[in-house]
Structures are given as structure tokens and as C-alpha cells.
């Protein structure tokens, strides 16, 4: 997906072209395109008058950013300590098996992207899986099929 130079310019001007706001600019750009397209990064670097390597460095340092296009549905599995102790790895293994991929990957039909996150702060209700911002708590490997089915049917 190519980014629109005008759209990126609008995002940068939202922050008055402030270099300090690079992370927020990248976050808004990712919200717009669901990932960070390469020419989007180039446009941001040019408009902020920063070396591309610095923008690239920030985009690859922080886990929130993806430089690859992501799927329609983002499946996030929490692997925080409380969830880990309640068998979150087993839940993740089951999701990996059902979707046929590793965390960080996207299905070939671009429907699902699988990610892991290191704590959502809802530890009381772990293990937690979030799909498209909707939280499912107290997950077990057995419940995975039912949760994914909702999105497979659509």
C-alpha cells in the first residue's frame, strides 16, 4: 500500500512539524495505514528534516510499529507473568496451530495477524486474547476455536 504524501503531511502538521513528536507521528501514520509503509517513512523523514535512518531506527525499536502490512484482524495474546502462570503459552500454541503461523506473521489471505504483547494490565482475568480491540479473558486452549470461529465466519 502506498502512502499518500498529503495525508502524511497532514499528520506531521498536526504536531507542528515537531521532531520530538516523531513517535506520535508514526503512531498516527500506522493508524491510518495499519502499518508503516516505506515511502511513508521517507516522507516523514523528509518533512521533519531528519535522516531516514533515525526514523527507521525509531520505527524498528518500538514493538507497537509494524513495517509489514498487517491482516484484517489483529490477534494479540498476552504473555505477561500472571497470564504465563495461568498457561498463556498453551493458549498461544493452540492459536499458532489453528492459524498455522508464528507470532509476527500474517496469514496469506491477509485475514489474521498474530502478535504477542507483554502485559495488557488486565491480569486478574488472564490469560487474555484481544482480537480487534475486543478482550476475551480466562482463555484456555479449548476456548480458542470458539473465539477464532467468530472471525473466520465473517
Amino acid at each position: 500500500m502506498k502512502s499518500d504524501c498529503e495525508k502524511v503531511a497532514a499528520i506531521v502538521s498536526r504536531y507542528s512539524g515537531n521532531r520530538d513528536s516523531l513517535i506520535s507521528i508514526l503512531q498516527d501514520t500506522q493508524s491510518e495505514y495499519h502499518y508503516l509503509p516505506e515511502d511513508g517513512l521517507r516522507a516523514i523523514a523528509s518533512q521533519l528534516d531528519l535522516p531516514l535512518i533515525q526514523v527507521y531506527g525509531v520505527a524498528t525499536f518500538f514493538k507497537a510499529f509494524s513495517l509489514k502490512p498487517r491482516g484484517e484482524h489483529i490477534v494479540s495474546v498476552c504473555l505477561g507473568t500472571a497470564c504465563h502462570v495461568r498457561r498463556a503459552p498453551a493458549v498461544l500454541d493452540e492459536i499458532k496451530r489453528q492459524l498455522g503461523m508464528e507470532p509476527g506473521e500474517t496469514t496469506k489471505d491477509m485475514r489474521f495477524t498474530l502478535e504477542t504483547v507483554n502485559c495488557l494490565g488486565a491480569c486478574a482475568l488472564g490469560p487474555i486474547v484481544v482480537v480487534d480491540g475486543k478482550y476475551d479473558g480466562q482463555m484456555t486452549p479449548g476456548k480458542v476455536k470458539k473465539v477464532l470461529r467468530k472471525y473466520l465466519r465473517k
Binding site: N18, R19, D20, S21, L22, I23, S24, L26, Q27, Q54, G57, V58, F61, F62, K63, A64, F65, L79, G80, T81, A82, C83, H84, V85, R86, R87, A90, D93, E94, R97, V117, N118, C119, L120, G121, A122, C123, A124, L125, G126, I128, Y135, D136, G137, T140, P141, G142
Partner: protein, 619 residues
């Protein structure tokens, strides 16, 4: 909302708000913090609004949505005021009967009451629930009284009166002296005396007079979510604390750095900041005191290291979150090279409390070296999961058993992990340890931000150590060799041990590596990273030995060292497990004993989860 021009106008507004509120008026409260939302409380809230509206009772029944009340285990929660009748695990389908029977006809709905775990008796009133009654909820209690989208609720409980007092009755040095007298120490993990930091920042050599006040809401420790709860549920307590701190330090610009994974906290904080500005409590010439101050929100990008002060400030400058050595502290040279005071969310929230009720009162709570209360997130293998606010000095045993209700399913307590990835595991033998900054450090752990993860006999301590090291290898910024290379090596060794390839000398090697990484790392991530490994070796050496010498995982967790087998006496041949098995590893005819083909078994556990007869065991 009209801008308040003076402190007197603030008090007049407060009096007006209070006069319009009848404490005996019926109010139905439900919490819509993140935990509640996970359990469907958005739908519960919607059902309450709709039912009250449909019955034409909007004028006589108030409905309030609040942040997290802290007892996450029983969400969704509905509390009926003024009696404070608490209903637990409520679904939208329960709402019509709650409104018609309990709210209108004053009949208690017994099936929705919380049962006291020790007696089995149903508890009617919120304040009688042992989980709450044994805490000292100086900060968290306000969450049930406030709709975070309404600053007027915060005014109603006395909000911003501390700010008023500070701006007009106290000099900046007096504010610092009061915080010093109270003995407040940082709640983010470092435990550094707050007043000393404020003083250092105030006295830092003036450059152009610019100083920054920053709130660390990165809350990266997995398992900790107290800051989330405060920001979502009572953002003004943090804002007020920051304005007071800024006045004391001489700062006019503030930032709140919020973790990327907390969208609701960002949303509620944004609304609160906007409303504070509208009332003139932020911005220029606050309450005509001549003091200017405003706050901006900055979102994190999903990096644990950005909870470290210098990495956080680098991130605020739009750079990658790499820490720098702190030969010169950030209080002297921080954000953009200016003096910057960074404090944790909970630390800031304590400030209005101290100013309002006085340092003398505050310093009566807690121990000699650790004053006040601390909020812990009590999670893991515990009956009553939730946020617990207790005075410093309470013992771990009281927290885990009296408040936490002990371990579920009759399992045996094994350890409690405190301090996140920088902390350690504390065994059963030390549960009478009083919880304060210094005692926990002596035991090989630390207070940290307050995450308290309870583990039972089914938790493998070697697996826990490996989990933390893996987490830290992913979060390490990579700048210094001891952390970058050392943790990778530790992870290799721990992986070998959990997969049955551990060697006799591995334990000593881990100890040696741990000491070097602690001594030589650039920042506290590396400096404390070996703690989970070293503390589990210290208290659970036998488990390491079992993995290495006997290739056995005593807790039956490490996949490479366990087998799933079907118990002949219990198997009824119901075929359910065979159907669930994704690898087709279970065979057997109907009503006859089933068997698991160990070559095909991937140890996923789906069979054990689906067996209703407990016929599948792990050994």
C-alpha cells in the same frame, strides 16, 4: 464549564455541587475500567441506563460509571447506593431484576451476593467484604465515587483543595518540606525519597529556567496494573499531584508518558486534562496565583525499557529508548538537557493526600523507613485477584491469605514473585516478611512497582526464571554487552535445562553470569535482570537439580520432561479426548480404555482440559 478565577470561586463551586447532591439519593454504580470491560461491563452499564430510562426513572435514580474498584475477580460489579449493596459477576440479563427488585423494592437478590470464602455466608454490603475491609484504601477508595469523565465528581470529594492550599498558603520550599516530613518514597520501583528528588531538580543550576515535571505511566512490569487503574479511574488525583509538584520545583511544563497498551487510560486522562483546563486549573495564571503550568500526554511505543527514566526521556525527544549512564542525574539534566523531575503515577497521587491531611498524619502509616500505603496487584494463583492497597509493613502472609483468600483449588502455595522482572521469588518460609522497601530487598527481591504474582505447586520455578530472562532479552535495548550478550547466554542455559539437556555446572555458571551482569550493566534493566534467576536458585535449588540430574520437572510443566497418560481406572472410553486431540494421537474404541501415542503427542493439554473424569494425568 466556567473558568474559576480564584480559590474562593473553587470553594463556592464545590459547595454548590455538594448542595445539589443528596447522599441518600439512590445511585446505581458500575465499574467500566479495563477489567470490567473484559467481563462485559459496557453491556451491563448500557442495560442499566436503558432500564432506568425505560421505567421513566432517570430523575430519581442516578447511574454512575466509574473506573476500577479493585476487586477484579468479581467483575462485573454493580453497587446500589446509599446502602452500598454489592452484586458480583453481573450480566446484562440480571439488570431488570436488580432495578425492579433491589433498587425500587429494596429486596436483596441473594444469588448475586458475594459469598465470604471462609464462612460461605453471603455478604450484603460492599464495605463488609473481607477483601476490602482488610485494606487501607486511601487512594483506591475514591475510584468508586468518581465518574472519570466528570471533574465535578472530583470536586465533590474535595479535589483540588490541596492545590488551592499550596498555591496560596504555602511557599514552594514549604511544600517540599512537607513531602519530606511525610517520608514519601517513589512508588515506581526505585523507592527514592521523593522530596530529595524535587529539591535536586529545584536547585539544579538554572539554564533558561526551564524545568520539566514528568509522570511515568509506562508501567511495564507484567502483572502490575495499579497505575492503569489510577489513571483510568481517578486521573485528577495524578494531575493535581503534578501541578503541586511543578509549583514546588518551579516547572511550567509537564508530560505524562503513558504505555501504548493503555488506550482507556489515555482517553480518560485526555478528558480530565481538557476539563481541568476549562476550569482554569491548568494553563496560565492558575486560579490567579500567577503560576502557569500545563501537561501534555505522550504515548509509549511498546518498549519495557522506556520505563527507565533516561530511556523514557529519550523517547519523549522522539529518539529510540536507549538509557544513558546516570553520572549526572535527570533531576539536573534530563529531558532536552533540562532539569527534569520524573515520578510514578502512584507517587503523584499520594501528593494531594499528604497536603490535605498533613505529613504528621501520613507518617503514622507504614514502617520507619517506608511510609504510607502501597497498591499491589495481587494476581496469579490466588482466589481474590485484584488491586490491594495496604499500609507498608503488613506481612506477605496477611496479603496472600487474609485479603487474597489463599490459593484456589486446594493447591499449596509455593512462592510469590514481587518486583516484576527486576525482582525475585519469595518462598513459603519467608511469608511473614513485612512488606517494605528495605526488607524485600534483603530477601533478594524488591518492592518494584507493586506486581505480586502468586505461584503454587503447579508452577515450575526454572520455567519462571526462563520466562523472565526471555522477556528481558526481548526488551533489552542492546546498547551494553553484559546485558545484551549475558542475558542471551543465560536464556540459552535455562532453555537447555528446561529441555532436559542441563549440565551439572550450569547452576554455578548462571550464578557467575548473574553477578557479572548485575555489576557491569549500564542501567537497571540489566542491573536487576539476574534477580529472578538468582532468587529461584537461592530458594529452589532442588528444582534446578531435578531438571539437570534426573531430567524431571517436579511441577510437571516443562514440555520436554513430561508425558500425558490416561489412567485406566478412570477412563470411561467416552472418546471426547480423542476428538479434541489435534494430532490424532489418542486412539481407542467407544467405552474402552483409550491410549495416547507418545510419538504424536505435542503436550498441548487439550485432552486433559476436555476430560470430565480426570482420567488424564501429567507426569
Amino acid at each position: 464549564m466556567k473558568k474559576l478565577r480564584t480559590a474562593v470561586e473553587l470553594e463556592q463551586l464545590r459547595a454548590r455541587i455538594l448542595s445539589q447532591r443528596d447522599p441518600n439519593r439512590t445511585c446505581v454504580v458500575t465499574s467500566v475500567g479495563t477489567c470490567g470491560l473484559v467481563r462485559g461491563s459496557a453491556d451491563v452499564a448500557q442495560a442499566i441506563f436503558k432500564t432506568v430510562s425505560d421505567l421513566g426513572l432517570k430523575d430519581s435514580i442516578e447511574v454512575r460509571t466509574t473506573g476500577c474498584h479493585g476487586f477484579c475477580e468479581i467483575e462485573s460489579v454493580v453497587v446500589v447506593y446509599p446502602e452500598r449493596i454489592l452484586y458480583q459477576k453481573v450480566t446484562p440479563a440480571d439488570i431488570p431484576v436488580i432495578i425492579s427488585e433491589s433498587v425500587i423494592k429494596n429486596k436483596i437478590i441473594k444469588r448475586l451476593l458475594y459469598p465470604d470464602p471462609s464462612t460461605g455466608r453471603k455478604v450484603i454490603h460492599e464495605q463488609d467484604i473481607p477483601f476490602y475491609s482488610k485494606q487501607n484504601r486511601l487512594l483506591l477508595d475514591s475510584n468508586r465515587l468518581i465518574d472519570p469523565h466528570k471533574i465535578e465528581d472530583y470536586f465533590a470529594i474535595g479535589g483540588y483543595s490541596a492545590l488551592s492550599k499550596v498555591l496560596f498558603d504555602m511557599q514552594p520550599e514549604e511544600v517540599i518540606a512537607e513531602i519530606k516530613k511525610a517520608g514519601l518514597r517513589g512508588r515506581g520501583g526505585g523507592g527514592f525519597p521523593t522530596a530529595r528528588k524535587w529539591e535536586a531538580c529545584r536547585n539544579a543550576p538554572p539554564s533558561d529556567g526551564i524545568r520539566y515535571v514528568i509522570c511515568n505511566a509506562d508501567e511495564g512490569d507484567p502483572g502490575a496494573y495499579m497505575d492503569r487503574s489510577l489513571l483510568e479511574g481517578n486521573p485528577h488525583s495524578v494531575i493535581e499531584g503534578m501541578i503541586i509538584g511543578a509549583y514546588a520545583i518551579g516547572s511550567h511544563r509537564g508530560y505524562v508518558y503513558v504505555r501504548h497498551e493503555y488506550p482507556l487510560a489515555v482517553a480518560n486522562l485526555s478528558i480530565a486534562l481538557e476539563q481541568a483546563r476549562e476550569y482554569g486549573l491548568l494553563g496560565e495564571n492558575i486560579l490567579r496565583s500567577g503560576f502557569d503550568f500545563d501537561i501534555k500526554i505522550s504515548r509509549g511505543g511498546g518498549a519495557f525499557i522506556c520505563g527507565e527514566s533516561t530511556a523514557l526521556m529519550a523517547s519523549l525527544e522522539g529518539k529510540i529508548g536507549e538509557p544513558r549512564p546516570k553520572h549526572i542525574h535527570t533531576a539536573v539534566s534530563g529531558l532536552n538537557g533540562k532539569p527534569s523531575n520524573l515520578n510514578n503515577v502512584e507517587t503523584w497521587a499520594n501528593v494531594p493526600l499528604i497536603i490535605n491531611r498533613g505529613a504528621d498524619w501520613y507518617s503514622q502509616i507504614g514502617t520507619e523507613g517506608s511510609k504510607g500505603t502501597k497498591i499491589f496487584s495481587l494476581v496469579g494463583k490466588i482466589n481474590n485477584t485484584g488491586l490491594v492497597e495496604v499500609p507498608m509493613g503488613i506481612t506477605l502472609r496477611e496479603i496472600i491469605y487474609d485479603i487474597g483468600g489463599g490459593i484456589p483449588n486446594g493447591k499449596r502455595f509455593k512462592a510469590v514473585q514481587t518486583g516484576g522482572p527486576s525482582g525475585g521469588c519469595i518462598p513459603e518460609s519467608l511469608t511473614d516478611l513485612p512488606v517494605d522497601f528495605d526488607r524485600l530487598t534483603e530477601a533478594g527481591s524488591m518492592m518494584g512497582s507493586g506486581g505480586m504474582i502468586v505461584m503454587d505447586e503447579d508452577t515450575c520455578m526454572v520455567d519462571v526464571a526462563r520466562y523472565f530472562v526471555k522477556f528481558l532479552t526481548e526488551e533489552s535495548c542492546g546498547k551494553c554487552a553484559p546485558c545484551r550478550e549475558g542475558l542471551d547466554r543465560m536464556l540459552d542455559i535455562l532453555t537447555e535445562i528446561t529441555e532436559g539437556r542441563g549440565k551439572e555446572e550450569d547452576i554455578e555458571l548462571l550464578e557467575e553470569l548473574g553477578d557479572v551482569i548485575k555489576e557491569a550493566s549500564l542501567c537497571a534493566l540489566g542491573g536487576t535482570a539476574p534477580n529472578p534467576v538468582l532468587s529461584t536458585i537461592r530458594y529452589f535449588r532442588d528444582e534446578y537439580k531435578a531438571h539437570i540430574r534426573e531430567k524431571r520437572c517436579p511441577a510437571s510443566v516443562c514440555k520436554a520432561l513430561i508425558t500425558f497418560t490416561i489412567v485406566e481406572e478412570k477412563c470411561t472410553g467416552c472418546v471426547v479426548c480423542a476428538r479434541e486431540c489435534p494430532q490424532g494421537a489418542i486412539s481407542g474404541e467407544k467405552k474402552k480404555l483409550h491410549t495416547i501415542d507418545q510419538e504424536k503427542c505435542i503436550k498441548c493439554g487439550l485432552c486433559r482440559d476436555s476430560c470430565k473424569f480426570e482420567a488424564i494425568i501429567v507426569s
